[in-house]
Assembly symmetry: C3
């Protein structure tokens, strides 16, 4: 492996944990995006024939635990690959087979992991605030991989990185988050991150999923996708999360697709350089038609690559932050 | 770790994927077997006390994803060990907890894995053609770990390697595949591989499991194991796959063992240097009696070791194949 | 990584397997504790900011298989971390998805793992004697991670290491094992290890869980925790294992806590330097109150760290033992 001399984490970075974007400054977000761009270059280099190594063992000897209390293959795999690309050992701690089912408290489970001298815990839990609770109870580093409907900061960061790559900036752009805002931690993290960087945010969806109360966060609310088509630079098509919904928020998926699905006809009325992103997994034919998902305006797969880069950046920056900062 | 100078993959190898043996030439199969022999030497070297290292990090920095949609500990563990011995990082992508259960299409799941910049996908799926479908949709490398009742190429290659080790050749030998041909991807891959290398193949089992139509592949069909005992150099005792059978293909396991089980009495009537192999997991007392399974004619455990060597060989050769070839 | 010159395993160590403490001499136990102390120093060194590496790749290139037939996140994670810290590759072999469900025998499954050239198998099984059965059937090394209610040697070794760290010795101390002795493999291993090192052992609990027959092992039996409070140097508060109990051994958890739970009132009557340990996962408010579990007499989290060190020591010593010894 190559000699690693990436030096210190960027000046100005002082966080030991990545809990959310709500209180993060534009400067901090830009530090993460810049670092992720550097890691992305390594991720993308070379075809497999060339004997090139896409690993950069900056965190060799460190251990990362994936503590996932909700099913997630995509995010967990992305974090695992990011950690291994940095040379870390990764251990999955499956909640279903864990001591929690034997009556142990959450904090005791976590303190046990800490006592095994792990360096970082990546946590996903259905309860908002889990990542923060964890960070207040252990000496190690905590990265939030989603806490209830609260925050999912790495998802928002990869969305924002994808936007910045396409437009070269984020400030001044108009970004529409379309669909299931009510159940979406991704929406919350995106709103805070995009607002910090100076973007305009429009929330768009049926009134059962988008409340006027969101306007308090400095965003606009629209109940008509057609009405905003020509004002928007980026459409972020949130997943309809059937698995999170207690009551049916719209009469049928056919009606949802008709009113809020992105298709070729709507795309034709949008700006010529409009960007389509989606956190996935996508429901083809519901939030987005296949031709749009696979078309030239879509950056859905770029987002996935950026996800690994964002997770490499935040792992490295949180673990290598200077003490006392 | 030792310095790795294994040079290029063998001249004549031009495949990026290992999908099956149906269209593979004798020369290509021999290249894989020869390479596997070299890796086997490393696998087998030294007792554990000697501070010898059985790892050869030719694929260090590469990432392998195990994408298994059917339960398999044996084959998945063998691939995992092979990949790690070559220095790869291995990530298991469990189908049951994956986004597929959230409505994502198979190709979308795979394209997401690809976008995370993984190098090779090892895939098992109940649907024939899955590995080929995959190979046509991603830039990375695909190794087929079993697709429905179609092909299971690494199993056939390890069977054939075991035969070649014992007899020094394959051409001219008579190999009987005994038992559940109808449900066996292993049988198909074996037939194509053995025929390419010049072996004679006899399929033997009850008529409910062995159709005369197989003769179109250049093999003989026999419904009596006793009738072929003295003609056969290698008996490959296929597993009765109760888990794949919809209807009961024979009246009782007792009758099956009576007619098609390999036991000491039958072994006594076979050639003196006859070889017994079985893909496993074996049903002791059904396809084979314990004394035969554990006896001197059996190479059942050699097959398992050869399995790791074959998987190392095919991983290395597919990943390091020269572009444009 | 640093150059590893840890030389040979300690003179006097001659075991290829760690099956239990019943037949282990004081000298052998001390060798393990001493080695674990050395590994613990590496585990504990440095905060994460310092670019220090807590890995010591003495077993690089070796492969460890976790063969767990009972759910265990804590012990399995501890073994995995220990093996990886020593540079090993770790493969989990999940019993639920294994070939055992396809009718393969236990020994055949294990012989298959062996044929894949793995170096060590860490096994947990509900059947007493599993680890020994395994050790008699394979060439590799076996570490017992719990066999039924028989032995759990690494748990006892980490308990004893924690005691020795606090008191500087074990001989002459009085250690009380409190609670569910009947279902506890940890109790058996502790009794043999503590007795070998010259400690006095008292078993304490309700008569449904503690039989007078235990006295044959050279221990005392008490049915009153209050009666022994001032005689004991170490209380090891065993978990009430609801998941192992067929009949209810006491009227209510409230009664159990009242009679056998360790709380501040009892602690006040104990020796001033009394040590509280518990194998966990603890039932807060049952075996121990939160204030005691988290108080200054408790070494519950030290035990967890010691667990990784003990597993590193036993892995390294068993794998590197000299042949013919």
């Amino acid at each position: 492996m190559e000699v690693c001399d990436w030096g210190d984490v960027p000046v100005g970075w002082r966080r030991r944990h990545l809990l959310g974007l709500e209180d993060m400054s534009a400067g901090e977000i830009e530090l993460i995006l810049d670092q992720a761009e550097r890691f992305r270059l390594i991720l993308m280099r070379g075809a497999s024939y060339e004997s090139c190594n896409r690993k950069i063992p900056l965190l060799s000897g460190k251990t990362c635990v994936n503590l996932f209390f909700e099913n997630s293959t995509r995010t967990k795999t992305s974090f695992s690959l990011a950690a291994r690309r940095l040379g870390m050992d990764v251990v999955d701690f499956s909640a279903s087979t864990s001591s929690l089912s034997k009556g142990e408290t959450f904090i005791d489970t976590v303190k046990n992991l800490e006592a095994m001298q792990v360096d970082v815990i990546v946590v996903r839990h259905s309860c908002p605030g889990t990542a923060m609770l964890l960070s207040e109870n252990i000496r190690g580093h905590v990265l939030n991989a989603g806490d209830g409907a609260h925050e999912h900061p790495t998802q928002a960061l990869l969305d924002i990185l994808t936007i910045r790559q396409r437009f070269g900036k984020v400030a001044g752009l108009t970004v529409a988050l379309v669909g299931d805002i009510a159940h979406s931690r991704t929406a919350r993290s995106n709103i805070w991150g995009l607002r910090a960087l100076g973007a305009n945010v429009i929330l768009c969806g049926p009134s059962t999923l988008v409340s006027r109360q969101w306007e308090a966060l400095g965003v606009k609310v629209s109940y008509s996708l057609d009405a905003i088509l020509d004002q928007v630079d980026v459409f972020n098509l949130l997943r309809i999360q059937f698995e999170r919904q207690v009551i049916r928020p719209f009469p049928s998926t056919r009606e949802y697709a008709h009113l809020y699905g992105m298709d070729a006809a709507r795309l034709a009325k949008a700006k010529t350089d409009v960007l389509i992103i989606a956190p996935g997994p996508i429901n083809r034919g519901l939030e987005v038609t296949p031709d749009v998902a696979d078309g030239q305006h879509s950056a859905i797969l770029d987002q996935v690559t950026n996800g690994v880069a964002i997770r490499m950046a935040t792992l490295w920056m949180c673990i290598n932050v200077k003490p006392e900062n």
